[in-house]
């Protein structure tokens, strides 16, 4: 163990004397690195911070010619938004759509993902590619037939209509990510089950599914998040049923200048998202990077 640390430490390996400039550079390097990393972190955080401050500003502070970093925070914007009540409808719609989408996408996607991950059969990788390619389809290519169909059949502006569209978007991601989780399980799991006389379905249902539960939870959260954030299909396929992003967009259209109330609405809409990020950070990283990191 001691030997390991000796050889992996560059300073000990390099026995040539260091010039003062090199020494200074080495001493400063960690601080330069930290500076860049935190500068990028501030850039990532700044819009969220700015949105939060706007939601706590009086109109005069929000519309000040010189943006005010120090101001008297108020809750009036939040109270106004909550009292107006539209936001509860948006929350309700989004919740219904996101939960239903997640349930359907998981129920359909998990069995497919399992077989793709665990069984070798002809066309397996072509099938996997096809599933993923549906995720790459430009949304307008799907949107136009959906729009025509919905206008003609009365699915327009209904919950089932929007859920069907969201399942179509999310299913490929659910299959793809669950496939990754199933691939991580040791193949001895099923082999042992088959020895004990389990059928294929029993091996899946009773052995693999329980073990894959953390993965299923992660994918469920992600599917929920994608549905919650989805804008284009929700915008086009609904009128009265407004999901959270569409509701916010309609605010932007009507109330161009009331930044305070708009910001308060946006912050409220972000609350579930931020809660997910803080609680399920690790699972989200894997999901948001499409399984490229494990």
């Amino acid at each position: 163990m001691a030997e390991m640390t000796m050889t992996s430490s560059p300073d000990r390996v390099n026995l040539r004397p260091l010039s003062p400039a090199t020494r200074l550079a080495r001493a400063l390097a960690p601080w330069a690195r930290r500076l860049i990393l935190w500068a990028f972190a501030i850039w990532c955080l700044f819009p969220i911070y700015w949105l939060a401050t706007m939601s706590l500003k009086r109109q005069v502070d929000a519309m000040a010619r010189t943006p005010r970093f120090w101001f008297q925070p108020i809750w009036d914007n939040y109270l106004a938004v909550i009292k107006a009540g539209d936001i509860w409808n948006y929350f309700g719609s989004s919740l219904i759509v996101a939960l239903a989408t997640t349930a359907v996408a998981l129920a359909l996607g998990i069995p497919t993902a399992y077989v793709l991950a665990r069984y070798r059969f002809r066309g397996n990788s072509d099938f996997g590619f096809w599933i993923l390619s549906t995720r790459m389809t430009p949304p307008v290519a799907m949107l136009i037939p959906f729009f025509v169909l919905y206008v003609r059949t009365g699915l327009m502006d209904t919950y089932p209509g929007l859920v069907i569209a969201h399942v179509a978007i999310n299913l490929s991601i659910v299959v793809w990510l669950m496939k990754g989780f199933f691939e991580d399980l040791p193949s001895e799991l099923e082999e042992a089950a088959f020895m004990d006389g389990a059928t294929y379905f029993q091996a899946f249902r009773q052995i693999c599914l329980p073990v894959a539960l953390p993965g299923i939870a992660a994918v469920a959260i992600l599917s929920f998040l994608f549905s919650w954030n989805e804008f284009l299909f929700s915008l086009v396929l609904t009128n009265e049923i407004r999901t959270v992003p569409v509701g916010l967009y309609s605010f932007v259209g009507y109330q161009q200048v009331r930044w305070g109330e708009l910001s308060a609405s946006a912050v409220l809409m972000l609350v579930p998202v931020l809660a997910f990020v803080f609680i399920f950070q690790k699972q989200l990283v894997r999901g948001l990077t499409m399984g490229a990191t494990k």
């Binding site: 790459m136 949107l143 037939p145 059928t199 990283v285 990077t289």
Partner: protein, 297 residues
């Protein structure tokens, strides 16, 4: 002769695949076929019963219209510049993060936020910050002694602003994939190069980057495809404007289809986009070994 064991195995595979396959086929293949069909007609929802087959008429009209080529150019420009910027920034910061020891988990959590939060909410915030007179960006520029910008009002700046917002949202995507790749990297060749006296820059470009390539290839493909079809950011921030300066193919198809109700013409644009996406992703993703099943039951 097939044994009954093989038959029951195949039946199991089929049953497990069927539900999602039927639904995905129904929800993506059928719309695709319908779109192709629409694109060969003059179908418009303003006169839904007056539908006629016009062959490749929409495509010919498309390829001879300047608005199509303008939109195609802007789409390519936006995609290439945005993904290029995100790649350089993302990989650079991932490399720094890889050597960082303090507060790494806090940094990772912060980097995760832009791509997790509701895009419409984020874009709305940028709209406030881009405001030429009241926005915080121009205030910051002015305090630094730099000239104020008409962020969304001038054609060039509008595209720059969109790339800025897209990069704010998606640089973390490439960063996290690159960081995952770095963590999984075999350190031995790097150590050997270091022993041979190679400098950190030489090691990074000659050893680390090539080893990281499979991860970056995936990141680039996913990101390019997504950038190619970006909607939320452009729609909420500029809606294709000023004029047509930021009108991408996606926005053009939306305008033609959902606003003008010319389904045939809009479908033709969507099909062109789809073909470009499929060809590009086939070319790149096939080379990356993503599709081999790992276990063999």
């Amino acid at each position: 002769m097939r044994s009954s064991a093989a038959r029951s195995r195949n039946r199991f595979i089929l049953l497990m695949l069927a539900p999602a396959t039927v639904l995905l086929a129904g929800l993506t293949l059928i719309p695709f076929v319908v779109s192709v069909g629409f694109s060969l007609t003059n179908y418009s929802l303003t006169a839904p019963n007056d539908i006629a087959f016009i062959g490749l008429g929409n495509y010919l009209a498309l390829f001879s219209s300047s608005e199509f080529w303008n939109a195609a150019w802007i789409t390519v420009l936006f995609t290439v510049v945005a993904v290029g910027l995100q790649l350089v920034l993302g990989v650079g910061i991932a490399a720094l993060l890889h050597h960082e020891t303090r507060a790494v988990s806090a940094l990772r959590l912060i980097y995760l936020l832009p791509m997790a939060i509701t895009p419409v909410a984020a874009v709305f915030t940028f709209r406030m910050m881009f405001n030429p007179t009241l926005g915080v960006f121009n205030y910051i520029l002015k305090t630094m002694g730099l000239p104020a910008q008409d962020w969304l009002g001038s054609p060039t700046m509008a595209l720059v602003s969109l790339i800025l917002v897209d990069s704010w949202q998606w640089t973390p995507f490439i960063l996290l994939i690159a960081a995952g790749g770095l963590a999984a990297l075999d350190e031995e060749p790097l150590e050997a190069a270091r022993m041979d006296g190679a400098g950190p820059m030489a090691i990074f470009f000659q050893h680390t980057l090539p080893m990281l390539f499979p991860y970056l290839a995936v990141a680039i493909v996913f990101r390019s495809i997504d950038a190619f079809k970006t909607f939320d950011i452009i729609f909420v921030l500029t809606n294709g404007g000023p004029g047509v300066a930021t009108r991408t193919l996606n926005l053009l198809a939306y305008k033609q289809g959902i606003e003008f109700l010319s389904m045939g013409y809009a479908a033709a644009i969507a099909i062109v986009m789809l073909i470009v996406t499929i060809v590009a992703s086939q070319l790149f993703l096939r080379r990356v070994d993503l599709f081999k099943p790992k276990a063999a039951l």
